[in-house]
């Protein structure tokens, strides 16, 4: 029996609220299909199932808030035969039902062919076996969404201490770190969002040694090209220049793949696919950076359409779980605000973030002459544990080169 657990939809997520099930017990489900809707501190997310099979039973009711890793549903995989699965009574029923008294019942004959009851154990909670844990460690574990199951205690009398929780957190691949954030009284979505951002950004600044590079790029050719292309397109298909920046960054990453990586288990793991996370600011504050899958492979028209869709769904709180977890790098742009440049804070476990300022008219020397050009500043914040300025510079130079030939971007 496969377990479907509350997924971690980002390094800053400790728990999630199950909003609704999208399937029923008995339904067949395929990998990639939406099984549930989950609300995190940042967004409402359609969670995709990663198992092929038939839904056996749900263990969590809609409306419940549970830590990451909590088993939400049991799924019978294709390999398991239906007949071998006697449905165990619900644990709640076992507790409330009184044993039927007296009436002697014949013990059922044990048939050697009868299938052994499948060992399905409900989730073990702390209440079932007395756990020695310090209050601070318990609080940390809850904040980090860590299960206490099997955690070794090194505190006084073998109690689990904060040190043990930190060790468990760092050994767990999701590595939510030891971000400790002060409790905030009001629990509004806005407060939760700020808290989530506070946790991930504090962790980033604490753990990641950032280096910063910037490159002024003559963006005139690209902007002119966008204008002329848009002239040929119906309004609903027109592009914004940000899409060029996303695509150019993705193509440049093919040349400098070291920056398309995630920090996992204390080392950098280079990723095959380039999923650029597009930073989207939300109304009422906060931001998210969901993935544009395979950014380098999509043409501009498709990217524009997907980007528009992502912004719309992101702001409506309707993102898919894979979009929340897949980004391999983030691109952030404050172009519409008019700042020259911005230096981003890396979103863990990513190892780099690319930032673009607004295109500004600048005197620019070209072929020995001063001309008025529209210039955009690209920046890179890189994880110095993973790369050096050398690779970072190669990426920015590649972005510059790619943007000079916008017609090739399609």
């Amino acid at each position: 029996m496969a377990e479907f657990v509350m997924p971690s939809l980002g390094a800053d997520m400790g728990e999630g609220k199950l909003v609704a099930w999208r399937k029923k017990p008995g339904d067949a489900i395929r990998r990639g299909e939406i099984i549930a809707e989950v609300e995190t501190d940042k967004a409402a997310v359609d969670v995709e199932c990663h198992i092929n099979g038939v839904i056996e039973r749900f263990l969590v009711e809609p409306g419940q808030k549970v830590p990451v890793g909590t088993v939400l549903a049991l799924i019978r995989t294709a390999a398991e035969k239906e007949s071998s699965l006697p449905v165990p009574p619900a644990p709640a029923a076992m507790l409330t039902e009184k044993p039927t008294p007296a009436a002697p019942v014949k013990a059922p004959a044990i048939s050697p062919t009868a299938p052994a009851p499948t060992a399905y154990r409900p989730q073990i909670t702390a209440a079932e076996s007395r756990l020695r844990i310090s209050p601070y460690a318990a609080r940390l574990a809850a904040e980090l969404g860590l299960s206490l199951k099997g955690m070794a205690g090194t505190g006084p009398g073998g109690a689990i201490s904060a040190r043990d929780v930190a060790a468990a957190a760092s050994s767990k691949q999701s590595g939510t770190g030891s971000a400790v954030i002060p409790a905030i009284e009001a629990d509004t979505p806005h407060v939760r969002m700020r808290r989530a951002i506070a946790a991930s950004m504090s962790r980033s600044k604490r753990e990641i040694p950032h280096y910063y590079l910037s490159q002024a790029i003559d963006f005139t050719t690209a902007l002119d090209w966008v204008t002329s292309e848009n002239g040929k397109l119906p309004v609903e298909k027109r592009m914004i220049h940000a899409v060029l920046l996303l695509k150019a960054t993705a193509l440049a990453l093919r040349e400098v793949p070291e920056l398309n990586a995630l920090w996992e288990d204390g080392r950098s793991v280079q990723k095959e696919n380039i999923h650029v996370g597009a930073a989207i600011s939300l109304r009422g504050g906060g931001l998210i950076a969901p993935a544009l899958h395979d950014t380098d492979k999509a043409d501009l028209a498709e990217l524009m359409q997907r980007f528009r869709d992502l912004v719309k769904r992101g702001r409506a709180g309707k993102l898919k779980s894979s979009e929340m977890t897949d980004p391999t790098i983030t691109v952030t742009s404050l172009g519409d605000q008019g700042v020259d440049s911005l230096f981003g804070v890396i979103y863990p476990p990513q190892v780099a973030i690319v930032g673009f300022g607004a295109p500004m008219e600048r005197p620019w020397v070209r072929d020995g002459k001063t001309a008025l050009r529209r210039v955009i500043t690209a920046t890179l914040s890189g994880d110095h544990r993973v790369t050096d300025g050398h690779q970072g510079a190669r990426l920015l130079v590649a972005i510059d080169r790619i943007l000079q030939e916008p017609e090739k971007l399609r």
Binding site: P135, Y136, R139, G155, P156, R163
Partner: protein, 326 residues
């Protein structure tokens, strides 16, 4: 500038005697003998018998006279030789000094300062060696100070004189010959706040008065074992500066409280309970108290040492709650 704790108290007395003609000092042997601990030596010659007054062996009477003088507009400083003898004046202190402002609806204030020696470690046995400041810290209406350094001893005395309510200053008797740096020029010390004497990250050691030096020594010893111990000087027992204590706990998550009182009903118990009430979810290990053994203080040197909290006990307690044994 360096001076001994004894000199610092004397400097504080001299400062307030000079700056306010309403101030006078009274107590057993404070005049001709120069004080049981030689604190007021020379003051009689300098300020005369009107302002440095010897009293009979009658703690209740001269403490009560101090209260009356304070109500009458003077600024008396009453010296009680040791805290053990102050039991005789307890009625005056608890029923009069502490209560009068409240009972008079704010019409009567008692600007009295009472100084007394406290603590063991000098082979003076049970009737001269106990630490009972926590009893006084129980009483609302008074302030209770426990300076551990010459600078605090001098600066707190001056702040106490400026306070409109009764202030009790407990001077650990082993501290008088201890030398320390004092502010030059002189400044009063805030008598509402504790202070962090050494910053650390692994464990907070709360101590005051005669135990502060042992806590700092323990912190040194723990450093060599790779443990970073924060040392917080409680120094104001009432009103207790809860914020400094709770902030320290929120940083280190582990607590050792050192207190020369007997463990049962000790002031360390109050600090421990405060942490339990307000910082429970910051605790990574039980709070440990290092207090005196529950016996009348022995005379024999080795037995007295065994009865009092010592550096080694503090180190062991810290190692215990850190799960590391030295």
């Amino acid at each position: 500038m360096k001076m001994t704790y004894r000199e610092a108290v004397r400097e504080g007395l001299r400062h307030v005697l000079k700056s306010d003609p309403r101030v006078f000092l009274m107590g057993e042997d404070v005049g001709r003998y120069g004080g049981a601990f030689a604190v007021s030596k020379g003051l009689l010659a300098e300020f005369g018998p009107d302002r440095i007054r010897d009293t009979p062996l009658s703690e209740s009477t001269f403490t009560g006279a101090g209260i009356g003088a304070a109500i009458g507009g003077m600024r008396p400083i009453v010296e009680i030789m040791t805290v053990n003898f102050s039991m005789l004046a307890l009625d005056q202190i608890v029923n009069s000094a502490a209560a009068l402002r409240h009972m008079s609806g704010g019409q009567i204030s008692v600007p009295l300062v009472v100084r007394m020696a406290t603590g063991g470690g000098r082979q003076l046995a049970a009737q001269h060696s106990h630490s009972l400041e926590g009893w006084y810290a129980h009483v609302p209406g008074i302030k209770v100070l426990a300076p551990a350094t010459p600078n605090d001893a001098r600066g707190m005395l001056v702040a106490a004189i400026e306070d409109p309510d009764p202030v009790f200053i407990f001077e650990h008797a082993t501290l008088y010959p201890v030398e320390g740096e004092v502010d030059d020029p002189f400044q009063p010390v805030d008598i509402s706040r504790s202070t962090i004497r050494r910053a650390g990250t692994d464990v907070s050691i709360f101590a005051y008065g005669g135990s502060l030096g042992k806590a700092l020594q323990a912190s040194d010893d723990l450093t060599t074992a790779g443990i970073s111990a924060e040392v917080v000087d409680i120094r104001v027992l009432r009103p207790l500066d809860e914020a400094t204590i709770l902030e320290s706990v929120s940083r280190t998550h582990r607590v050792v409280v050192v207190d020369e009182m007997w463990r049962t009903g000790s002031f360390a118990g109050e600090i421990s309970a405060l942490i339990m009430e307000k910082a429970f979810y910051d605790l990574d290990a039980p709070v440990v108290r290092v207090c005196s053994a529950e016996v009348p203080m022995p005379y024999a040197k080795h037995m007295e040492a065994a009865a009092l909290p010592q550096t080694a006990n503090i180190v062991a307690a810290a190692q215990e709650i850190l799960g590391r044994h030295g």
